[in-house]
Every structure is written in C-alpha cells, then in structure tokens.
C-alpha cells in the first residue's frame, strides 16, 4: 500500500492535520473522515454537481479532486451555511420560501454553487444562475424554482446588508 500523505486543510474554518491515502477523494474525506455528510455524492464522475463545495472560494467537484492535492487549501461545505444556532443562511431561506428543493439530494451542490455565484454577483439574474448552476442536475424540481430561489437569495442578502448598514448608522 502506498505511503499516506499528510495534509493540512481548513474545512469550514476548522484546521485539520490529517494523514490520508493518496486515492482519497475530497468528497470521501469530508464524508468519511470529517463526518460532514452534507456533501452528497451522486455520479462520482463530475456530471451531476451534487458534490460541489468551495475550494479556496471556487465551486469545485469534490469527487474529481484528491484530498492530497489540497494541502494548505480552505474548503467550505454546505454545513458552513447555517448559523451555529441553526438559523438558516439567506440562500437556504430562499430555497425554502421558493420551493427550490423536493427530495433534496442535489441541494447541497445547488447551495454551494449559488454561494459562489452570490459572492461574485450579489444580485444575479436568471441567465447568471443558469450559467453558474447549469452543471448541477436536479431530477425533481424542473429547475424553475431553483433559479427563482437563487435570485431571491440575492435580494434577501442585499436587503440584509442594507439593514445592517442602516443599523450601524442609527
């Protein structure tokens, strides 16, 4: 058996120093070694997008990256979205409000893809969402509600930011 590889990786703000087999995929490291099972594995060949996480702020298929490649990287998963008290992130609120999910299997990938988009484009239009999430498959919703959810999330986040700013001024 080949030597294990040492990686220092930050996941959702927590630093980990791990020994892992070179063949361990990031998705498996997250799910099996770090017990972060929110990241879902669908096709395991980069097609479905369910396993999308952010690696150094870039939406990435965690089934197509070896954990060994990520020494020094910072990873965010769907578990990073909600607050410690369970308060939903505005993206999650929007998905709830707009019925952006049914079975929920694709949702972690949709949320993280949306998260990357909203950090780049605060109030995306339909086309931006279709471009960003075009590689994420959903077998339930027919996509319309997902697109609406992400647009709504953009508005919610902008409103929240504005009320925070006016709060500071007051």
């Amino acid at each position: 058996m080949p030597d294990k590889v040492r990686i220092r990786i930050t996941v959702n703000g927590t630093r980990h120093d791990l020994l892992t087999e070179p063949r361990t995929l990031l998705a498996d490291l997250l799910r099996n070694d770090l017990a972060l099972a929110g990241t879902h594995l669908g096709c395991e060949q980069g097609v479905c997008g369910a396993c999308t996480v952010l690696v150094d702020d870039v939406a990435t298929r965690s089934c197509l990256v070896f954990a060994a490649q990520l020494d020094g990287a910072s990873v965010r998963t769907v578990e990073s979205l909600a607050g410690a008290d369970g308060t939903l992130h505005p993206i999650q609120q929007a998905f709830t409000q707009e019925h952006g999910l049914q079975c929920g299997f694709c949702t972690p990938g949709m949320l993280m893809g949306a998260c990357e988009l909203l950090e780049r484009v605060p109030e995306p239009d339909r086309e931006d969402v279709e471009e960003a999430l075009g590689g994420n498959l959903c077998r339930c919703t027919g996509y319309q509600n997902i697109v609406r959810s992400v647009c709504t999330a953009g508005r919610l986040m902008s409103e929240q930011q504005q009320s925070e700013q006016s709060g500071v001024r007051a």
């Binding site: 980069g46 870039v58 298929r61 089934c63 197509l64």
Partner: protein, 299 residues
C-alpha cells in the same frame, strides 16, 4: 474509495516531474486539472501506479504574448485553467477562437480546474479545445528529461485519445501564432444538452485580403473523425470566396475522407451531415466577423 491505490508525487519543479516520468513511463499519469483523469480513475478505466501532480510546479501557469524577431506568439502553460484562458484579455485579443471554444467546454466549475493543455493532451476526438488548437495552427511544447521538442498540433493528435507523446514526455504548454490583418474566427457546435461534449463542432479562422475576399482559411472539426481533424480541401476551396453561397459550396466537402466514430449521440452519417452544416456556419460567421469586427452572433 473508488480509484485503485497509487503512489502520489507532488514535484515542485519541472525537472523533478520529468524525473518521475522518466522512471515510471507508462505507469505514471500527469495530474493537472484532473477533470478527465480523476473521473477515469474513479471508474477504474485507468489505474496508474504513480500520479504526478504538477499543480505545484513553478512556472507552468504562465499565460502571455511573447515577441520574437517580429513574430508574436500567445503561449499557455500546462497549468493555465480553462476558465482563466476563457476570461483572459490576451486570449480574447489574440486568439478569440480559443475563448469561444473554451466557453463551450462543460460547465464553469469543471473549467475552473480543468486546463487547456490537459484537454489537448487527453486528445478526446469530440472535445472543443484540440480542434480549436488545430484551426489556430497551434504548437504543442513537449519536454522529457532528455529532450525538448515542439510539435505542430496536426502531428500531435494521432487517434482517439492518442497523441505522439512518448511515455516519458509531458506537454508543458501550447503556443498559437498571433497574426495581424483582417481576420475572424468562429467555433460552433451541436450538443445534446448545454455543457455536454459536442456531437460535432467546427472551428474556422479566416483572413481577408484587401479586396475583402478570403485570403487564408483554416478549418478543423471535432466529433467528426478518429481525431480532431483539419480540412485542407475545404480550406483551399474557400480561398478567393466572398459570398456566403461559396462558403456553403466549400463546406460541402467537409466530410470527404472522414471516418466518424458513431455513438448513441450521433451515427457516422449524422456526424458527416453535421460536419458540412457546421463548417458552413463557422465559415460564414468567421468571415462576417472579419468583415465587421463587432459581429458577434452566428450567421
């Protein structure tokens, strides 16, 4: 845990990477973006004994234009991500075909990791970037521990997923000559769904003479043959043409001599049909763009 066990090498410089390839040859695979390699390893279609991760090799992420004796060259190192190339000002200015073809590859998260050179080295006969490199008259820069060589793209691709690369060699970059004058390009493809590999795609680069007629043309196809393929017969037929019907006439020869790989997405005959239709479309659009540089839509 899907892939078979392997030894992981993460060299910091090119010589170290080439040493590993010299030692292990066919048992080693180079990992850059990994968007094809890791997928194939997950499915155990390939099980290399050694994976050489070149992501930490210094200097391979360079993208830029160099001038040498009056001729300019756009070069992309082996770690230039497809997304970087697609959004690069240098690529947009000097090889817009590469940007247009690149934007049609898979989806943004795949392009954010996948590299241009990786797609070239993988040599998928259906993929966009190898065909674009052919139409751009591109060069493939190859290194081994013993030697360095530059291969014309047309000599690099030898068959489906096959190249002239030796087991101890790796592609360190690609180069595209920068041409002056009135030129235009277009990449058009047919896919079953947005982001899928095309059933067939056509890349065209044309240069116009002072009289507005086509003075030079280069055309290449993907999904239409055993390898990405240049169409010299169409290229010479289109020289001197100045109206759209002449492009369609020239494109009628696009499928001559081709041996398409049939699949559930398109029979060989359908691919030959697409070769003709998409070649005509790419030529019309390329010429329209050369005539009026603001032209962006497909003719």
């Amino acid at each position: 845990m899907k892939p078979a066990p392997f030894e992981y090498a993460a060299p910091r410089d090119l010589d170290e990477a080439l040493d590993v390839l010299a030692e292990h040859g066919d048992d080693a695979r180079v990992l850059a973006g990994g968007q094809s390699l890791v997928r194939m390893m997950n499915a155990r279609q390939v099980s290399p004994a050694v994976v050489v991760d070149i992501n930490r090799v210094r200097g391979l992420d360079a993208l830029g234009v160099t001038n040498d004796n009056g001729s300019s060259t756009l070069s992309l190192g082996a770690l230039v991500r497809q997304r970087t190339s697609e959004l690069s000002g240098d690529v947009a200015a000097h090889a817009p075909l590469l940007a247009e073809a690149g934007a049609q590859v898979a989806h943004a998260p795949v392009r954010a990791r996948g590299t241009v050179v990786g797609s070239v080295a993988f040599a998928d006969p259906s993929a966009e970037l190898p065909a674009a490199l052919l139409a751009l008259d591109g060069l493939v820069k190859v290194r081994s521990r013993a030697a360095e060589r530059t291969v014309a793209a047309d000599d690099f691709f030898t068959g489906p997923f096959r190249t002239s690369l030796a087991p101890d060699e790796m592609v360190v970059g690609v180069e595209v000559p920068v041409t002056a004058g009135r030129s235009g390009s277009a990449f058009v493809e047919l896919t079953r769904r947005q982001g899928d590999l095309p059933v067939c795609g056509a890349a065209a680069v044309v240069g116009l003479g002072d009289d507005g007629r086509v003075a030079q043309a280069r055309v290449a196809l993907c999904g239409a043959h055993q390898r990405p393929v240049r169409l010299p017969a169409v290229e010479s037929a289109v020289v001197g043409a100045d109206d759209p019907s002449a492009f369609t006439e020239a494109a009628a020869r696009a499928a001559d001599g081709l041996d398409p790989i049939p699949s559930c997405h398109g029979s060989a005959d359908f691919r030959r049909h697409l070769a003709r239709v998409l070649t005509a479309r790419a030529l019309r659009t390329a010429v329209a763009r050369a005539t009026s540089p603001k032209e962006t839509t497909h003719a």
